[in-house]
């Protein structure tokens, strides 16, 4: 049972990761590179502000980062594949868990696509409702605060959607809706004055395009997962 989930997750996750890579290469990476021009102009990378705190400036050296070009692209493709497989494990695990609980409905590409849309809501749409996707060079609240809110929102959205979709009692469905909304009532960590070096038009284009890219990724991941689960049943 586990090896079947792992096989499907690797196949569907890698395929969806490749699709994401195609969308990113044509629509997102150019925006990231453009934004980095503004980021570097505003704060030259030669000044390692972080390293100053821990080591004398003379010995400070910035951490390794991939060379622009083929090395940087290779790492991004690698991490796209890993991210695809990671999300695929979560998605296929959840779909299998639901089937184990005695779901009568049949799994196929169509039902898988619906699961994928739910994944998009949990891991992109709901977090972006509080924390818009940012380009390098943007300024925002402390990273750890944003990561915690992002993760909590993903978990609350998943739990809330699960209760709404699968709980038999109306009252529990209502509870699911409250769980879904809670992170947005609490509110995401924000700066009073967000901004940074990146032009607003560039930031807006990236926010919209990255969400569309995420939607495509999750649709492909969900549909492929459902199809493979049926084929390899």
């Amino acid at each position: 049972m586990l090896h079947r989930i792992l096989l499907i997750a690797v196949l569907a996750g890698a395929a969806a990761g490749l699709v994401a890579t195609g969308v990113q290469a044509t629509r997102l990476w150019p925006l990231i590179l453009e934004a980095e021009k503004y980021e570097h102009a505003a704060a030259p990378p030669a000044a390692p502000a972080l390293a100053d705190a821990t080591a004398p400036a003379a010995h400070a050296h910035p951490a390794w980062e991939p060379e622009d070009g083929i090395e940087r692209i290779s790492y991004t493709v690698l991490f796209n594949l890993l991210t695809g497989i990671g999300f695929a494990l979560l998605l296929n695990g959840a779909m299998t868990l639901r089937a184990t609980a005695g779901a009568a409905s049949r799994t196929n590409a169509g039902s898988g696509a619906l699961w994928g849309l739910a994944g998009f809501a949990c891991f992109a749409l709901a977090p972006a409702f509080g924390l818009p996707p940012l380009l390098p060079g943007s300024e925002s609240a402390a990273l750890l605060d944003r990561q915690l809110w992002w993760a909590a929102t993903a978990v609350a959205t998943a739990g809330g959607l699960g209760l709404i979709a699968f709980a038999p009692a109306r009252l529990v469905k209502l509870l699911g809706a409250l769980v879904l909304v809670a992170p947005h009532v609490v509110g995401a960590p924000r700066l009073d004055e967000a901004g940074g070096a990146v032009p607003a038009s560039l930031a807006a284009e990236f926010a919209v395009t990255s969400l569309v890219a995420a939607a495509l990724f999750w649709l492909v991941l969900g549909a492929l997962s459902g199809w493979l689960q049926r084929r390899l049943a």
Partner: protein, 59 residues
């Protein structure tokens, strides 16, 4: 399609364990936290463009 007969079949079938699904989800959680959230600068720099593209908080 939940006719009485299929309901009975469900009840009579040996209970399938949820363990593989839970293990897969824990594994997925581990991978996603590793690629999307982990702190070390080297990991951040290697995953940088993916984190931005997948709308993870990055900087």
């Amino acid at each position: 399609m939940t006719t009485p007969s299929t309901q009975t079949a469900h009840v009579l079938a040996p209970p399938r364990t949820a363990l593989p699904a839970v293990v897969a989800m824990l594994l997925g959680l581990f991978v996603v936290i590793g690629v999307g959230f982990a702190g070390p600068a080297v990991l951040h720099n290697a995953a940088h463009d993916m984190r931005h593209s997948f709308t993870f908080p990055c900087h």
